[in-house]
């Protein structure tokens, strides 16, 4: 036992009135203290502060705050832009999470066997993950360029006419989804690959001996055993859908006519462009609540997924 430990013990041990040795569990708390300090400073305190702010309003041009209770929330739910942002975010989450997970799983199944060729292809698909979202958005901005962008250039050869990928309010959100799927599928693929490696060989072999075809193997062996991985990927995918906004800022600024406005961008816009701290705080609280809900539900599912039975 070194000196530090001894002095710590002296701090945390004493004799009770009856002479028994009492030992508190101070050490783990002391070890947690630095992390707790930073969490409080940068996570819990801001959360409490934003919760408070969401119940106050400071009219633009005045210094004094006025308590409005749920007023900001009421204003937010009535706001057309907010309704649009929520709808968009839902559509965006579904439209990116499902395809990117299906794609990631398909890639993982195809590239499961490790050889030189597959490793090369794997890194190709993983590559978009390495690019920051801002840079990816800048890159795709040129892909989407109407007329001579990469997409239109090749589509024109197939006889398609010019498409306004980001300027058409019916298409813009789907264009962002396309970018997001491209960006994320490779990342999720890595998790599925790891999951696949973890499936015991004997189970698969048993299935083969029983005469299960490829589809039956996938349906009754691989997918059930991958469930924990799938649950985990689902959770992080949904989190990403609620916490990514860079591409919106770079490419569309939420336009045309709020067709690409997402919840996070809505917060940014209300705070920085519309000077509406109250509404921005209310939307932030909502965002945090949704994120917490997603992670709690996700973790539950995860835990259940681990105790599977075959």
């Amino acid at each position: 036992m070194n000196v530090a430990d001894r002095s710590l013990r002296r701090l945390t041990e004493w004799r009770s009135a009856k002479g028994f040795r009492v030992r508190t569990q101070l050490k783990p708390y002391l070890l947690l203290l630095p992390a707790f300090f930073f969490l409080t400073m940068f996570t819990y305190y801001p959360m409490v502060k934003v919760l408070r702010q969401s119940m106050f309003t400071k009219p633009h041009g005045e210094r004094a705050e006025i308590f409005v209770g749920a007023g900001n929330y009421a204003r937010m739910f009535r706001d057309m832009a907010f309704q649009k942002a929520m709808k968009n975010n839902g559509l965006y989450a579904l439209g990116t999470v499902v395809p990117s997970i299906v794609l990631a799983l398909a890639l993982a199944l195809l590239l499961n066997r490790s050889n030189r060729f597959n490793n090369f292809i794997r890194s190709l698909f993983f590559f978009p993950t390495l690019i920051p979202l801002v840079a990816a958005a800048g890159l795709w901005w040129f892909f989407f360029f109407p007329g001579y962008g990469l997409l239109d250039y090749y589509l024109a050869k197939l006889g398609f006419s010019e498409t306004h990928w980001l300027g058409d309010s019916d298409i813009a959100l789907y264009s962002l989804m396309l970018l997001t799927v491209w960006k994320n599928a490779g990342y999720y693929m890595v998790f599925f690959l790891a999951g696949l490696q973890g499936i015991p060989q004997d189970v698969t072999e048993a299935a083969v001996i029983e005469g299960a075809n490829w589809w039956q193997q996938l349906r009754y062996v691989t997918l059930p055993l991958l469930r924990p991985t799938t649950a985990f990927v689902l959770v992080i995918a949904f989190m990403q859908m609620l916490s990514n906004v860079d591409h919106v800022i770079v490419m569309t600024k939420g336009g045309p006519q709020n067709s690409t406005n997402l919840l996070l961008f809505y917060i940014y816009q209300n705070l920085n462009e519309f000077y509406d701290v109250g509404k921005a705080s209310a939307a932030t609280v909502l965002n945090v609540v949704i994120l917490l809900a997603v992670s709690i539900v996700g973790l539950r599912v995860l835990e259940r997924g681990i105790h599977y039975e075959i």
Binding site: H60, G147, D168, S169
Partner: protein, 441 residues
């Protein structure tokens, strides 16, 4: 020999004085200056040179320049710094944010400092183009000094014009001529348009500016320069502007549908895929460099009259500085916005110098003689310049109209509905201001 006590004291005192004197001479007031541009880039490099020059020129003030990204980011950073009790001294700011900063009481009124210099505020400001005044002076108080100015311009491809028998010396000057020319210039291959007659940027910010330009040339105005709680969206003049733009796309088929960004418009013009474009005078340098054909520039065509809203940015001093820093900030701002420096910045960037006297300098005379296209923009500014939209919560109010215009460009609404809806939204946004000022005459 023993030194007398007096001698020792004298030597010590002298030594201390000798040590402290140069120190105090070098105790310069440090001030922060926020300049909206990326950290690396030609603008940041040139600005660094200018700031270094100032720091070398005198030994009272040391300016520390911070390159703070876009106008929006700069505004956000300045606001955050102010709220944290450490405001930057001088900030280059977009006119959209200036009035909002005035309302938040972030900006130092400049009148007292101008007067302390023995100048009359009105006299001080007389050298700046009149059109910029309403964007910088509120209730007679100067809070901002113009630094760079621009106006929208019509750019035409001379080769295309010649092809359809139009004179490049006389580009379209009226809406009617503009529509006729755009129709002639649009080229189709079967059903596919291979060349657009006209393109105009419709991304946020650019769109509002150009709509203001068209509304002005249609004889109307966008907002009340005397009372910042009023915009005129649901009016015949603004509706006329919306209609013209809508017709370009859906009636005449001479402009692509949907929202088109400024960069897309520029690229289309350079590639010969758009014969006429409306872009800022700020694009002149890029056009000069990239257009591999003969081009010409003209005023924004008029329906009723010529008029053009000014774009650009202004220098402000933030409140909450110590008296020394405030003095230093003012000294730096004055130097930065003198005729020579504004002329230098103008030649470097392609923006107009906001001071009239800058154009009396020999370097500027030389420059304008060499670049007649710059003179067109300058004339428009001089003769027909008008303040840019600046009301309570400008950006939100501007977006109210831009969102409706986006719907219009996607053929999702009508001009009547768009104007009415934009007006309704804008009024809602400005309601708190109008409630506060209801009793005002």
């Amino acid at each position: 020999m023993k030194l007398s006590r007096h001698a020792v004291v004298a030597v010590v005192v002298l030594a201390i004085v000798a040590m402290v004197l140069p120190l105090s001479a070098f105790a310069r007031t440090k001030i922060e200056y926020f300049f909206p541009t990326m950290v690396e880039g030609p603008l940041a490099r040139e600005m660094t040179k200018i700031v270094n020059e100032y720091n070398k020129m005198q030994d009272q003030v040391k300016v520390i320049a911070a390159y703070t990204g876009t106008y929006d980011e700069t505004k956000i950073k300045a606001q955050a710094a102010f709220e944290a009790g450490k405001p930057p001294a001088v900030v280059l700011m977009s006119p959209f944010s200036i009035f909002d900063f005035v309302l938040s009481d972030y900006l130092e009124p400049l009148n007292p400092m101008i007067k302390a210099d023995g100048m009359d505020p009105e006299e001080f400001f007389a050298d700046f183009w009149e059109a910029a005044h309403p964007n910088a002076i509120f209730d007679g108080t100067i809070v901002a000094v113009p630094f760079q100015m621009s106006t929208p311009l019509l750019y035409v491809n001379c080769e295309h014009l010649a092809e359809v028998g139009l004179s490049c010396e006389k580009p379209p000057a009226t809406w009617k001529e503009l529509v006729a020319a755009a129709k002639k210039l649009t080229k189709k291959q079967g059903n596919k348009v291979i060349r657009w007659g006209i393109m105009m940027p419709s991304n946020y910010d650019y769109l509002g500016w150009l709509l203001e330009a068209l509304t002005l040339t249609n004889g109307g105005r966008f907002f009340n320069t005397d009372y910042r709680g009023e915009v005129y969206y649901d009016t015949p003049t603004t509706k006329g502007a919306l209609q013209l733009w809508y017709d370009f796309v859906y009636k005449h088929g001479v402009m692509p549908a949907g929202v088109t960004e400024g960069r897309e418009v520029g690229a289309a013009f350079f590639a010969g895929k758009a014969s006429m474009v409306m872009l800022s005078t700020g694009s002149l340098t890029a056009v000069r460099k990239n257009a591999k054909f003969k081009y010409n520039v003209a005023f924004i065509p008029r329906n009723v009259r010529h008029k053009a809203p000014l774009g650009g940015a202004f220098m402000v001093i933030m409140k909450g500085l110590s008296p020394e820093k405030k003095k230093a900030a003012w000294d730096f701002l004055k130097w930065l916005t003198n005729a020579e420096n504004l002329a230098r910045w103008s030649r470097f960037t392609g923006y107009f110098a906001p001071r009239k006297s800058s154009y009396d300098l020999p370097v500027m005379k030389e420059f304008t003689a060499a670049h007649p296209d710059a003179v067109v923009g300058l004339d428009q500014l001089r003769l027909y310049g008008y303040p840019i939209l600046q009301v309570y919560n400008s950006i939100a109010v501007r977006k109210a109209l831009e969102d409706e215009m986006h719907a219009l460009l996607n053929n999702k609404t009508t001009v009547e509905k768009a104007a009415a809806e934009a007006q309704k939204k804008a009024n809602q946004i400005m309601a708190p201001y109008n409630k506060d000022h209801a009793s005002a005459p």
